[in-house]
Every structure is written in structure tokens, then in C-alpha cells.
């Protein structure tokens, strides 16, 4: 019945419960501010999910829980970008030990010297300036 929809004192948006407390990216970012690399884990599929999202792509269910990575991984692939001006820099894909992959860069060695298969460890690149968010970068693990 239409009258059931009318709630006393209801203003625009009142009674609409937010589906999420915050966006997946906001949660991810919150962990980075705390020095942590966070990812999601699907309880249904028993596997990691990255990038963070609002549903599990393996089951379609709202079953994703946040976990914090140990920060260890392996270089899956690596390139060096040569801008028309400025220094060459590394862009890499990192396979984290928990079973998710992300884009990042490996800092320390010359960008050309970042080899596929290298063991790397996460650290936070702190926010610089008003508009920039922190982001994850990696350094070579001494073996």
C-alpha cells in the first residue's frame, strides 16, 4: 500500500540504509594510510580478490572479507617507460604471496635491472601534496 511508504518526518534519502559503510577504495586507502597493503578474500571461493570490490566475482555473493597482506611478492612482469622528457622509470606487476596481483614499481635497482622472478617487499609511498593518495611500492628482498 502506498501509505506504508510514507514515514513521518522522512526527508530525502531518509530510511535508505547505505549498502556499504564506505567504498572499497576508501577502505583500501585507509589501510595504506596505516602502512598496510589490504586485499579482499572470498570466503566462498577461498581465494584472494584484487582490486577491491563490492561483490565476489567468483560467486556473486557479498562474502568478501578484508585481509592485510604480509607484503611479500614476486615480480610477474616488468617494463621501463622512457618519457620524452625526464628519467626512465619502472612499471611492474607484482604477484603477492596471498594470491593477488597488482601494478606497482620496484624501487632500488635501476629500472632496467628489475628482473621477472625477483622477490620483493611492500612499503607505502606516502601521500605527497593535497590531491595525492598513498600507494604501494616494492623493494628488493635481500636473500
Amino acid at each position: 500500500m502506498a501509505t506504508d511508504d510514507i514515514m513521518p518526518g522522512a526527508g530525502p534519502g531518509a530510511g535508505v540504509a547505505p549498502a556499504q559503510r564506505e567504498s572499497p577504495y576508501a577502505t583500501y586507502l585507509c589501510h595504506l594510510h596505516a602502512g598496510e597493503l589490504a586485499y579482499q578474500f572470498s570466503r566462498t571461493a577461498r581465494r584472494a580478490v584484487f582490486f577491491p570490490r563490492v561483490l565476489c566475482p567468483y560467486s556473486g555473493e557479498d562474502c568478501l572479507e578484508w585481509r592485510v597482506s604480509a607484503g611479500l611478492g614476486t615480480v610477474y612482469s616488468s617494463s621501463v617507460v622512457y618519457p620524452r622528457s625526464g628519467d626512465a622509470y619502472n612499471v611492474a606487476l607484482i604477484d603477492c604471496d596471498e594470491g593477488f596481483r597488482l601494478m606497482s614499481r620496484v624501487e632500488g635497482p635501476a629500472p632496467q635491472a628489475v628482473a621477472i622472478g625477483t622477490r620483493v617487499m611492500f612499503r607505502v609511498h606516502a601521500a605527497e601534496g593535497l590531491d595525492e593518495d598513498p600507494y604501494p611500492v616494492f623493494t628488493v628482498v635481500d636473500q
Binding site: S77, S79, V81, V91, M103, S104, R105, I116, D133
Partner: protein, 383 residues
């Protein structure tokens, strides 16, 4: 066995044409080039604009490309599909036009593309979409995405930069036989290797051109095409697969969705790689040709580098690949897929002059969209 009704409704390509290519100059819009392609493709098969009741198009420069082309052509009642899957859009459009014609939603469809990215500058012609999980690392996209795939291919299979360069050299040799090609001079492996590095291991000569250009196809039923000016080209099979959008989400950098899209197209056509006479694959970068020849079954996984070497895919080689000179040396306005189909049609009609593959009966056209993200395969047959 197809019944007579279905056979009459089978989609065929009746007309095909490029717009002006290269650098068309200031003031031209992408829709101008689409319309130029439509006019030439209709003239190619002898149909009129008034016969057209279906519009399929996509452009990175037009958010509502279907509306823009309907307005430009004055076709208020046309069936419209402006799905964009990047450079693979037009191979998808061909499959969808076939479905629309079979369903009776339209009778004569045009598939159109236009881009003025060279005249305007690339930064002015595509919408920047910031991925917060990639943007901080400043990948130079799209080249860095393909460079990451190339580096992984080299790591897993021992593929070399020289083998990547062989792809560019073969494309250039074909382009020298195509009067419409942008590049007019010869190219060697040594020149490719010595070119400016863009995103390692890819140099500027491993990367496609940046040109203007457009074109159109006219698609209709086999029955409607029977009396037209040129022999119709049959659509024998089509397949599509989307594995990711951003390169950091590609499940396996050396195995693309072309494996699935190719299998679907081969199955529908009842054909295999050994039946294909001429191959057109989207060579946005040299690694693409290697990946797609592997994934479409022309050689085993990991053997693509050796396969493309020694002139095997060049003029006179065992497998003619990208006979117009490809995105590497003929034309690359940003979403190249339509040109794969135009060249395949011309090869099957025997219209290719110095670059004609003698007696070509079956052509494979394979489109790529995004950063190895969307893969669309089409098998075409001569009348």
C-alpha cells in the same frame, strides 16, 4: 543443415570501403569520416543510403556515436548499436548485425568508424579514465601494457626483441605493396631495434602508427545481396571473449581471450586454422601478432617468435598475415578493427593487386580491444 529461410537471412558483407586515411586535416569530424566510408561502401555494392536501416558504429571521439551518425545520415528510424569494445568493436558489430538481420530487426546495416586522432592529437581524442590502482605508477598506456606482455613472453618462452622486430618488418613489406599505406620506405630488423625505446622491450617501431582514418561495411542478408554489384562475402563464424579491462587484471599475460574467441569462431564455421588462406590480426604492437597467431592455433604456445621469423608471415611466406601492412605500417586511427575486415573482404574478392593472396577463399580477421582485454574473431568466406 541450414534451412532455406535461415540461408536467405544469413548475413553477408556486400560492400566495404575506407574513408580518407592518413592526415585528413583540421575541421574534419570522426562522423565526417564515417559518412565518407558509408557513401563509398554503398557505392561499392550499388545500394543507396535510403536502403540503410541499421547503424553500427563506435568512436573514442563520440560518446553517442550512434546518435551522431543517425543524425548525420538522416536515418531517424534506423536500428542502432554503438557498443564499444575498443578496437574489437567492429568485429563484434558484424556478429551483432548478423543477429539483427536474422531477427528481422534490420535489412541493410552499415558498420562505420572514423577517427581524426592525428589531426587533433591523441590527447584530445580519447577520454581519460583514471584507474586509482594503476595511475600512481604512470604506465604509458597502451604501450606499457603490451610491453609487460612482451616481457613476460620473452621470460617464459625465450622470445627475442629480434623476433618482435620481424613482425614489424613483415608488416612493412606488405605495406610497400599497398598504395594506401602510410609508410612508404623499407624497414629492417636492425632499424627496429635501434629505434627510440618507448616502453621496454617495445621501441617506437614495435608500436602502431597514429593516423586519421575511417571506413564502413555494408552488411545485409545473402538474399538481398544476390543481385548487387560485387560478390558477397559470407560471415562463417564469430566469437568474442573479454578477459579484463586493465592490464593488472589480465589473468595470464601470455594467453589472451583469442583462445576462446577463436575456438568459438572456428566451431561455428566448422573450420580450423589449417583452412585459413589469409590472416588479419590487430597488430597494435608487434607482440600482438605473436600472441594471436599462437592463440588462434597457427603455431603452438610459445613458438610465435620463431614462427614469425625468416619471412614466414611476409609476402611470399607460408602464411600471409596483415596483407595491407597492418596497424604497424598501413593505418592506425586508434580503433583499427574495421580495417581488418575491409582487407579480408578485398582479399576474398581478389581485389588486392600486388598484395593479393592467390585464390584466397577463407579469411580470418581478429580484433583486439583495450589492452589485450577484448578479443573478437571472425571467419569470412568467398562467395
Amino acid at each position: 543443415m541450414m534451412n532455406a529461410f535461415a540461408a536467405r537471412r544469413q548475413a553477408v558483407i556486400a560492400g566495404a570501403a575506407e574513408s580518407d586515411l592518413g592526415e585528413v586535416g583540421p575541421g574534419f569530424s570522426p562522423i565526417d569520416l564515417m559518412a565518407q566510408g558509408v557513401q563509398r561502401a554503398l557505392a561499392d555494392c550499388g545500394l543507396q543510403l535510403a536502403d540503410v536501416d541499421g547503424i553500427f558504429c563506435a568512436s573514442s571521439q563520440s560518446r553517442l556515436a550512434g546518435l551522431a551518425l543517425a543524425e548525420y545520415l538522416g536515418l531517424p528510424d534506423a536500428y542502432i548499436d554503438s557498443t564499444s569494445t575498443g578496437g574489437s568493436s567492429f568485429l563484434g558489430h558484424l556478429a551483432k548485425a548478423g543477429q539483427a538481420i536474422a531477427a528481422g530487426a534490420c535489412q541493410v546495416a552499415v558498420i562505420a568508424y572514423g577517427s581524426t586522432q592525428r589531426s587533433l592529437g591523441r590527447k584530445n581524442t580519447s577520454v581519460a579514465e583514471r584507474n586509482p590502482y594503476e595511475a600512481p605508477f604512470r604506465p604509458f598506456l597502451p604501450p606499457t601494457a603490451y610491453a609487460l606482455a612482451a616481457a613476460r613472453h620473452m621470460h617464459e618462452f625465450g622470445t627475442t626483441r629480434e623476433q618482435l622486430a620481424e613482425v614489424a618488418v613483415a608488416a612493412r613489406q606488405w605495406a610497400l605493396r599497398n598504395p594506401m599505406a602510410w609508410e612508404k620506405g623499407p624497414l629492417t630488423v636492425e632499424q627496429v631495434l635501434a629505434s627510440r625505446m618507448v616502453s621496454h622491450p617495445l621501441t617506437i617501431r614495435d608500436c602502431c602508427l597514429v593516423t586519421d582514418g575511417g571506413g564502413a561495411l555494408v552488411v545485409t542478408s545473402a538474399e538481398r545481396a544476390r543481385d548487387l554489384r560485387k560478390p558477397a562475402v559470407k560471415v562463417l563464424g564469430a566469437g568474442h571473449c573479454t578477459t579484463h579491462q586493465s592490464i593488472s587484471n589480465m589473468p595470464d599475460l601470455v594467453r589472451t581471450g583469442a583462445i576462446a574467441s577463436g575456438q568459438a569462431a572456428y566451431r561455428q564455421a566448422g573450420l580450423g586454422p589449417g583452412d585459413v588462406d589469409v590472416v588479419q590480426v590487430y597488430d597494435a604492437f608487434t607482440i600482438n601478432t605473436i600472441l594471436f597467431l599462437e592463440d588462434l592455433g597457427f603455431c603452438a604456445k610459445g613458438e610465435g617468435g620463431a614462427f614469425v621469423s625468416g619471412g614466414r608471415i611476409a609476402p611470399g611466406g607460408a602464411l600471409p598475415v596483415n596483407t595491407n601492412g597492418g596497424g604497424l605500417s598501413y593505418c592506425h586511427p586508434g580503433m583499427y578493427g574495421l580495417f581488418l575486415l575491409i582487407e579480408a573482404v578485398r582479399q576474398l574478392r581478389g581485389e588486392c593487386g600486388a598484395r593479393q593472396v592467390p585464390g584466397a577463399r577463407v579469411a580470418l580477421a581478429h580484433g583486439n580491444g583495450g589492452v589485450l582485454s577484448s578479443q573478437a574473431t571472425v571467419l569470412l568466406g568467398a562467395a
